[in-house]
């Protein structure tokens, strides 16, 4: 089942995609698996969402699924069923910052 990921506008431009991308994730649909698959599909996004070395989320980005904030969850947490089934997207959101 393909899952949907919504990217912030600047990353859509960078990856040359629309607002929503569709990904086939192998195995359990965890936070880490979604981001790994996304970066494999669009290598230009490497380093823009997670730090290259530590794979830690960049501080001004947040992750949301089914109206829940997954930003501080461990990377191996499984995403909600409605995201896993493609009924709802997984959101990568740029923090509102800058005044």
């Amino acid at each position: 089942m393909a899952i949907k990921v919504v990217l912030p506008a600047h990353l859509q431009t960078l990856a040359r995609v629309g607002s929503e991308v569709s990904l086939d994730v192998d195995g359990p649909v965890t936070l880490r698996a979604v981001l790994d698959t996304l970066e494999d599909r669009y290598p230009v996004l490497r380093g823009t969402i997670r730090d290259h070395g530590t794979l830690k989320r960049r501080p001004f980005l947040r992750f949301f699924a089914c109206e829940e904030d997954y930003s501080l969850e461990p990377p191996d947490i499984e995403l909600p069923e409605r995201v896993r089934t493609g009924a709802e997207p997984f959101y990568i959101v740029g923090a509102i910052a800058g005044g």
Binding site: P8, H10, L11, L14, V44, R46, G47, T48, I49, D51, H52, G53, R58, F60, L61, G94, A95, A97, G98
Partner: protein
């Protein structure tokens, strides 16, 4: 007829400004990468259509872009800048050890002989090199391995390696500068580095004559005299006649010797330019007058260049990488301001015109002289 291409990096994108050799009518293309900080763009002298750009954002980190058609289209290249080995610590603002952390690329210097080779100066201070056109970047670890790295501390803008000069005669010699560590030179292609700060005097550090710790803002060189270097330090304009082994002050009659940028005329190696800024807390020109100062004697004796520049109520800054020169017969001088203006002088600084007035704050200006 030759033409010029001005590469402008701003807080919110890049602009490419073109004109023919008359330099009267300017065409502004951009913004490219709108919304992103473009700390620096620079073209290869070997292949002027090859341009590298440092694109960064507080949200999404660092990207490197490359153009192979003179800035019309761009491709994102590798953006992984991994320090070699265990990076260790430098001094933090309060004097405590702080881990080395990559933040952004401040300056990209393309090779003088190979368009696929370029050097990147980064924050926290280190030097990286690509030899495959930006597809991968690798640190030259000898610089951080100089032995003084634990004593380097960040300037107000961060611990940034902002100046890279590739010696046009000796391919193994390079000069770099770091705020706030000082200037360094390698004579073996980047394996080993020597601090070249003798003669610098910085009153704001514990030992004003320390080997390292000086807030060097920019260094410039004329290619015909590679042993002569000019430096705008935090305070003081300096000169070296022996490749940085010793420096002497040439601030002379400048109204203030604080500033960020310094550059050399394309055809007159003793003609240099600075933009005096009132102080390190007041980042604007003295008396609200934007004046470029020119010395035709390699320093000490300076004249104010004002024709075409605002002489009242002007409170912009000119940052370290925001001045450049073209190499047309009548040397053109260019600089950008934090107020979004880009000024050009087609006559070595005698007269100035704004070729762009309302860009985002300008971070860097480079000029390419394109042969017809």
């Amino acid at each position: 007829m030759s033409s010029v291409r001005v590469l402008v990096g701003t807080r919110k994108g890049a602009f490419v400004i073109n004109a023919d050799g008359a330099r009267k009518n300017w065409d502004i293309a951009g913004p490219f990468f709108g919304g992103w900080e473009l700390y620096h763009l620079k073209g290869s002298t070997v292949d002027p259509n090859r341009i590298y750009a440092s694109q960064a954002s507080g949200w999404f980190g660092q990207l490197i872009q490359r153009s192979d058609d003179g800035g019309k289209t761009w491709t994102a290249m590798d953006n992984k800048f991994a320090y070699d080995g265990v990076p260790g610590t430098h001094q933090w603002y309060d004097g405590t050890p702080h881990p080395w952390e990559f933040k952004r690329v401040w300056h990209i210097e393309p090779s003088l002989t190979d368009p696929d080779t370029a050097y990147a100066g980064v924050e926290d201070a280190a030097m990286f090199r690509t030899t495959d056109g930006g597809k991968s970047w690798h640190e030259l670890p000898g610089l951080r391995g100089h032995g003084s790295g634990s004593q380097w501390n960040p300037g107000a803008g961060g611990l940034c390696l902002h100046t890279i000069i590739l010696d046009p005669v000796d391919a193994k010699r390079m000069f770099i500068a770091i705020s706030a560590a000082g200037a360094f030179r390698t004579d073996d292609g980047g394996g080993n580095w020597k601090a070249i700060n003798q003669g610098l005097h910085s009153q704001h550090i514990p030992d004003p004559k320390a080997e390292v710790g000086h807030c060097v803002h920019r260094v410039a060189q004329h290619p015909s005299r590679p042993n002569v270097l000019f430096m705008q330090k935090h305070w003081d304009v300096m000169r070296s006649d022996n490749a940085g082994d010793n420096w002497s002050e040439v601030s002379g009659n400048l109204p203030t010797d604080f500033g960020f940028t310094i550059d050399v005329h394309a055809h007159e190696p003793e003609t240099i330019y600075v933009v005096p800024i009132k102080s390190d807390s007041e980042h604007y020109p003295p008396d609200g007058k934007l004046r470029v100062y020119r010395s035709r004697s390699g320093g000490n004796e300076w004249e104010a260049l004002t024709k075409g520049l605002p002489q009242k109520d002007c409170y912009v800054n000119v940052l370290r990488d925001a001045m450049a020169v073209d190499s047309l017969d009548s040397c053109g001088i260019y600089f950008g301001t934090t107020g979004g203006q880009v000024y050009a002088s087609p006559d070595g600084g005698d007269t100035w015109n704004a070729i762009a007035r309302d860009l985002p704050a300008v971070l860097s200006v480079e000029v390419q002289t394109i042969a017809s």
